[in-house]
């Protein structure tokens, strides 16, 4: 790695399940994690059932807004949104809202495979030039960076967990099937999540 910040073009593609496991292994303070739809969500599920995980079942594009709501309600807890490139492209405005609010406890992880993988791999706009970390910086999230490789992803997550945000970490992915599939039981997902956050006993 040289001294230039990584870009989408220079980043070494990483495996989604691997970096999801790396992320989850770093969570020692009951951080909340919101999984967007699709394979991002499935790999979060496969990385281990934490009561502080919330799994969406539809509502494409809302992982970051849901995470922002949790972050506002619980300012002493770090909240992480895991979102895919296709989903984020559907709700780019939410980056401007995060930029305007500057929630210090919000971390956004963008899993960018350049494709709508779950619907057959059609290319997204990121495969054709859109740079989500640059868009996030332009929306007011100054701490937005591409992970150059797995080790750099680890260090960006460590930094995001230890310093005030908001932070956005973008990872360029290899093409890979998810390691599992989320159980689709919304009432149970919500109930477990609220117990994990201490808002229901």
């Amino acid at each position: 790695m040289n001294n230039q910040p990584a870009t989408r073009d220079t980043a070494t593609p990483v495996a989604r399940f691997d970096i999801t496991q790396r992320l989850v292994a770093k969570l020692h303070n009951d951080e909340a994690v919101i999984g967007g739809i699709g394979h991002t969500n499935f790999d979060l599920w496969a990385a281990g059932r934490r009561p502080q995980n919330f799994y969406m079942l539809g509502s494409m594009g809302l992982a970051i807004p849901i995470a922002l709501g949790v972050a506002i309600a619980q300012p002493n807890r770090n909240v992480i949104a895991l979102e895919g490139d296709g989903s984020l492209l559907m709700m780019l405005g939410c980056l401007a809202t995060v930029g305007a609010r500057q929630p210090p406890n919000l971390i956004i992880v963008v899993m960018d495979n350049g494709a709508y993988e779950i619907t057959g791999g059609q290319p997204t706009a990121t495969a054709q030039g859109a740079d989500l970390a640059a868009i996030a910086r332009g929306a007011g999230i100054a701490n937005s960076a591409w992970a150059a490789d797995e080790a750099h992803f680890d260090s960006l997550i460590d930094q995001a967990l230890a310093t005030p945000g908001p932070h956005l970490i973008a990872a360029r992915l290899t093409a890979a099937k998810p390691a599992g599939q989320t159980e689709r039981d919304p009432a149970q997902i919500r109930d477990r999540f609220m117990r994990g956050l201490g808002t229901k006993v």
Partner: protein, 172 residues
Amino acid sequence: MTDTTWHAIIHATLKAHEVKLVPYVPDNVLRPLIERIHADPFFTAFACTREEEAVGIACGAWMGGTRAIVMMQTSGFATLANVLASLPVPFQIPIMMLVSERGTLGEFNIGQAMVARTMRPVLDAIAMEHHTLSRLDEVEFITDRSIRQAVATQQPACLILSPLLTGGKVFK
């Protein structure tokens, strides 16, 4: 209560029920309520870029222990069928919504008039509790009881502000 405007009553009723977070998409009829809420440090209120985003924020806040109400106008509600059917309804998250009704009783924009007709059929199709506020003497009762029922039954609810109550938006 000394101030008996519809917006003063809703403001006080939200406060009485600890509904603290107000993500909204701006609307001219809602303006006096939004201004009151911004002026009261009890509330956290801010504009969102889309109504869907505001619903997501409100759902996250509820799960994190903060009650929320999303404010919007009719055309904004029309963008919400998918998110309501996939987030607050199936996950049983009792967010409140307040919709300023356009499209009827003197509408001047045909687009608003047409899209407004989709609102109640969508609410009925997803079996979401909804009430229309059209009389000043009913505002407190309907708002109070709707919040209580939403929380007790863990289901979202929608309040519609009729031009009969607010005067609506008219062509000048």
